[in-house]
Symmetry: C2
Subunit: 341 residues, 2 copies
Amino acid sequence: MVTMRDVARVAQVSATTVSHVINKTRKVDPETERAVLEAIEATGYLSDGIGRSLRTGTTQTIGLAMSAISNPYFGTVVHAIERSISRAGYSLLLADTHDDPVRERRAVRDLLSHRVDAMVIAPSGEADSVLDALVQRRIPVVLIDRIPTRERPGVDAIGVVNEEPTARLVDHLAQIGHSRIATITSDPMLETTIERLSGYWNGIERNGLTRDEDLVQVGVRGSEETTDDAVATLLGLPEPPTAIVMGNNQVTIGTMAALQHHHMEAPRDMALVAFDDFPWANIFRPRLTAVSQPVDELGAGAVSMLLDRLADRDLPPRHRRLEPTLKHRESCGCTGLSTGT
Amino acid sequence: MVTMRDVARVAQVSATTVSHVINKTRKVDPETERAVLEAIEATGYLSDGIGRSLRTGTTQTIGLAMSAISNPYFGTVVHAIERSISRAGYSLLLADTHDDPVRERRAVRDLLSHRVDAMVIAPSGEADSVLDALVQRRIPVVLIDRIPTRERPGVDAIGVVNEEPTARLVDHLAQIGHSRIATITSDPMLETTIERLSGYWNGIERNGLTRDEDLVQVGVRGSEETTDDAVATLLGLPEPPTAIVMGNNQVTIGTMAALQHHHMEAPRDMALVAFDDFPWANIFRPRLTAVSQPVDELGAGAVSMLLDRLADRDLPPRHRRLEPTLKHRESCGCTGLSTGT
DNA sequence: TTGTATGCGTTATCAA
DNA sequence: TTGATAACGCATACAA
């Protein structure tokens, strides 16, 4: 490996000067500078981040801990985050939590061992103990997707509004005549599931519909998908639903597959609305009426908060909620009103 | 920050002993070991990867350079790779190439600066100069998706067979009566595009169809999507095609959107077959007849080759081709034969 | 304008 | 069974 000393030797200067040339950190005689740059070129020297990190205490690396399994937006989120942080001169270290608290703990430990300067975490259910460790180490954290109820120093959060948009999905189904409206949720441990479910109940109540616990089914439990059972249960009810609110992307795919097994088609045999949109939702049939999350903005927003905090660690904790947008298409069954894009 | 010396002080031993306890690298008196473990617990010590890396020369980190923009399988590939390498005790450092040779260069430099132990690269068109630098530094590389024509020491590659499967897509369309079969390709700079295009021509010729250059349109050029134009050109032809072979996932989405603008529906107004499958292809309509890549196997295979090479750097270069599978569904227009899953 | 010396946290060598 | 010491590559305080 070619080190700074090698460059220094070739350029006939000290390592100090080489360092200063590379980092533009003090005035250097143009002549000397040229010699150094030439030596760098000649030797093919590339600065060693490890050495620098050990010395400076910063790795210019940001850790991302999230589950790739359950998050259909995984790629988009990673991309959005990567773009923002690389623009700021950081690299992205990835750790998959597999939607499992134990793996999540290990993932965060791993990122800490690599001395990431900050972390983005899309937490599974139980992130609290992990967070405490991070707060104690004073490492900047932004939680994505989940807004914690308790504020902690150094921990920011960004997510979308879940409750009211879900209620509005129910509103819409009620307005077009449905009275038996079911919901299939994602994992009940997830904060977002809880909020969306609460929105569902709000919708049921404010539209004067009968509150029926049987109409709520869980589509994901841990790493297990149970949408098949959920759909079967709903269809086996004495008075089955005529419409379903699907809690997220994963549930949507599962539910649609299950309905297909029962030879049912949306919106003819079942009205469907979903939380979470698909990028190709306009092209394939049925065109889903869905609440669309601003994924790019979530990623960019998360990084922006992180960079702010990196610049000033004593910033008060901030929690941001972005508004999702309703894409009104055809799976809900009122084709005339379609405005979706 | 709590270091090994802190632990040593608390445990009343030397830092050497602490290190040996942590790494189980020499015999330690059980009593001493207990004291050390207790001190670790008490101090909340976490070993510092930077210090270790500087000393040992290995970072236990693998770099992944690929484009998130153009690769619809991005998430799946990242996930597959992450899973394999984390099992082997490595972490994943991500660098987005944005499908641009300049950004790709920077991405690789960046990964090198972070001293990744090895790299997985999904190369854009011009990866050769980058590769030379890596070979020179003797850092293990596996190219994913693209099989280079020239072998290089220390560079493995894994991808799918592109030519024959594409030819078979043409076969199928010809057999069900199409004689004007077009193709919309991905970026012409990509190796896979070249191979698939070659397969297309093979198909045209071996089915005795007229060779017509107008039936080949480019759907992606660099970071620009031109499927709209491609479709418009095809439809404007004196004798328009009745079937289209779509070169990859991105092209498929673009083509279907464009066809929709022209109020055309598959397979009624246009038979469609695609290279690249969608995970939800069975649920939404039209159900695409598509060549499906074994994405998980690609990721796992790439990592497996890398680990082999990490164990023995002098292994001869290996190039692996995996067979994709044809998912015969409905968009090609011969519904009776559907076997897709 | 440039150079010397030191230490970041760890592990390997050598000695006890 | 354990410890003292040096070195990995770099950036900085200090000296010249």
